[in-house]
Symmetry: C2
């Protein structure tokens, strides 16, 4: 990591000349505000915040940073959960807030070209106005920016059908750490002309360069979405239910959560239990039903699952309102457990290994901390589990987190045993940096560091994130 460089008057003058006087901030409130993301473990301490309007301005700032040997932290919607966009060390923060234009729509290509600061929801709404659909969706869609989504390869609740952000990126304009502007892949579906450099920047957490524009693919709008919530007797029943539906119906979501999560959501009093039977686990599945026979088919599979004993009870949405209220059982979990100061992990393993993995983690926590409650939920359809340990009342926050650190080690050992990921969709940033070796081999990390040197030889782009050089 570079030593912090004080913001000299000369540097400030030159930065101002690049972005303009009203596009630069150095007051304490702004440094605090734009110096961090949604994580709270690190104290923001940038030198200056700049708000460029064009790719060329970003390039000028990067060249200047190289010249002055001062680090850059990219900043998007600041919704990150791994401290990938926190400036702690006198950095120049490049905020994309003013690069928020949707530039061009290509109907024949079902594609849109956007600046990196476009907010996810803004893109979703724009797509809808064109009669199209942008399917990457998650709780923070109202503030997260496309550039940040690309930097962490954001996932969310529709991955089982639509995949991660990576699937929707047809082209990228980036400014590398060296200060070169690259226009990568230019929106093409088919282009076999050498290394697909765009894929390094997707999920690269801004450590190789800054994404300034993107060509994003859109999809047709989903038609007549239906939601089923099913109660299952144990986790082992979840898999046959997944298979039974997936065989005949293209699912747009397959989520799961435990009874504890259900209770916490119900306790808030905004939604009601979907059916009488209390079950250890629940699955929520969603699918398109543009034709009546698909609903008949779903009911048939539902009944088959009941007969097999895989499902104890269930309900299917009867209206658009009910689709929304059933989704809240799943979507309100994070907010509902927030008062219990959950210790969060965002992990993934092969779907095949999920049942054994959950059993092992439950056993480990039970054995070591029998008074800890585990709130499981996640995107089973793609092997992504959100493991939330709730703080018992008798522990202080610090005592609790200290014990969780110990649990963490067990959890990551188990992730490694199953060849899983310590960060499924939240990135590494600073919070997961110490654990990177649980998911990537020493050789892989060496190659990553060597690639970083190619694009960012002076190590000025988002240093201290992902790994230390």
């Amino acid at each position: 990591m570079n030593a912090p460089v004080a913001l000299t008057p000369e540097l400030l003058t030159q930065l101002t000349a690049i972005v303009g006087e009203n596009r630069i901030k150095t007051d304490a409130d702004s440094l605090e505000n734009w110096g961090k993301d949604h994580t709270k473990h690190f104290n923001p301490n940038p030198s200056v915040i700049v708000f460029p309007s064009t790719t060329e301005q970003v390039q000028e700032v990067v060249k200047l940073a190289n010249q002055f040997n001062i680090a850059i932290t990219p900043s998007g919607g600041r919704t990150g959960l791994s401290a990938g966009a926190v400036a702690t060390n006198g950095e120049i923060v490049i905020s994309m807030d003013k690069m928020n234009q949707i530039l061009e729509f290509f109907p024949a290509d079902r594609m849109v070209r956007v600046q990196a600061g476009v907010v996810t929801e803004q893109l979703q709404n724009y797509a809808e106005e064109q009669g199209m659909y942008y399917p990457v969706d998650f709780a923070s869609a109202g503030s997260s920016q496309i550039g940040g989504n690309i930097g962490t390869n954001a996932g969310g609740i529709k991955v089982i059908k639509y995949g991660m952000t990576r699937n929707w990126v047809l082209g990228l304009t980036v400014v590398t750490g060296k200060g070169d502007i690259l226009r990568l892949n230019k929106g093409m579906i088919k282009n076999a002309t050498g290394y697909a450099l765009q894929h390094l920047f997707i999920g690269g957490e801004g450590t190789l360069g800054l994404v300034t524009e993107a060509e994003i693919k859109l999809e047709r709008q989903p038609q007549n979405l239906q939601v089923l919530v099913l109660g299952v007797p144990d986790f082992d029943a979840v898999m046959p239910v997944l298979h039974a539906f997936q065989k005949d119906i293209d699912l747009t979501a397959f989520e799961f959560f435990g009874e504890l999560a259900m209770q916490k959501v119900l306790d808030r009093g905004h939604v009601q239990r979907p059916f009488e039977t209390q079950c250890p686990f629940y699955v929520l599945l969603e699918f398109e039903a543009p034709y009546e026979p698909i609903i008949d088919k779903a009911m048939e599979i539902f009944e088959h699952c009941m007969e097999q004993g895989w499902v104890l009870d269930g309900v299917m949405s009867q209206s658009l309102d009910q689709v929304e209220s059933l989704w809240r059982l799943r979507e309100d979990i994070s907010e509902s457990i927030a008062p219990f100061i959950p210790y969060k992990n965002d992990i993934s393993v092969l779907i095949t290994h999920v049942p054994a993995f959950i059993r092992e983690i439950d056993a480990i926590v039970q054995e070591n901390y029998p008074d800890f409650e585990i709130c499981w939920f996640g995107h089973i359809g793609d092997g992504n589990l959100h493991l939330n340990i709730l703080k018992p009342e008798n522990l202080t926050k610090d005592e609790f987190f200290a014990k969780c650190q110990v649990v963490n080690k067990y959890v990551f050992d188990t992730v490694k045993k199953y060849d899983g990921s310590i960060s499924a969709e939240h990135g590494v940033g600073m919070t997961k940096k110490p654990y990177l070796e649980y998911s990537r081999s020493a050789e892989e990390i060496e190659y990553m560091k060597a690639l970083k040197k190619v694009f960012d030889p002076k190590g000025i782009m988002n240093p201290g994130k992902l790994f230390d050089l």
Copy 2:
């Protein structure tokens, strides 16, 4: 490029010790056979062919090659069309022919782990036996190998729905040019732990390392596929037809071809004209119709297109046999024009630009070589055009190709003008190497060369392909 190194007895002994006596060939026929792919412009001249059985054996060979400073050419199904797998300079050819095992099936993940030498059709058949589907399909599926498909990011006829090979790779085992074994991404859908190195090897044409195993995603089988062939009055009508169908129906293919291509196919006498009306262009579209109303919807759109004058005539498949015979109108084109010694280009531009692009190329060829016939066909649904110029009878092959080289320059200038790709799905290899700069900027090429040095510092992996160092 390295100077050729003679195959010393010592090297031969050590190679034999690694792969075994019956897994090494040095006879002239074998050198000729495994020293080339489907291109004919280069004379194969390797030193030795080895047939390793395991990733570890590949690693040993790569380490040895580094030690002796001798180049390696990877060899798969040898169906490549850009001389990406031709050994011209005394190389060790590593053939994946004996690494042809399907290793493990993960039903819950809809995933299969395979060795790189598995043939595409072998994987397609295996998937079918499991009640699943591998959707990457093209004419050479009977011989092309998965490793080669990955190396060129192969596309084919179902890309509009299923995407390129890249979309189906959930994990890769590679041996880098340096001799490290990397197990990349391990089959996960969600894994946000740093740079997605696997994406460099996908489409990397074996210049960074050798793919030895892959985790491949499978899909449910398509249900009740239907095919429509429509005749259109001019190319401008193709786009509204695409939009009209795509709005309401998920297409699995949207192909086009000109009347000249149709005539060449009909001349062979294997299939009949699908309807009386002779049209300048035809589109073939395919979709799933698991429910009757989808067919009604398709007929409704068809009629709408007729009323609008976008379609002059058309036919819908009435049976599985007819699905196959209609597909032959498109699939038999390459073979039907082969006797006319076509000069082939495989290019892509945004779908938006296709009509203007085709007009410009037609005009350029007409102006410069009014006696040349252009046979257009391709995957319009993803902007991929196969431009085939047929040899006039009065020219010798050499005269014809010399003139085509001149046309080529115009074609690639036009590709560049539209920010397109000079190789949509065939890769660069040696045949497109001189033209790489038409699709990639000088800066991009410099970064690619620097990445090559990271993974292959001695430049022994498939040298002379993609670019010269």
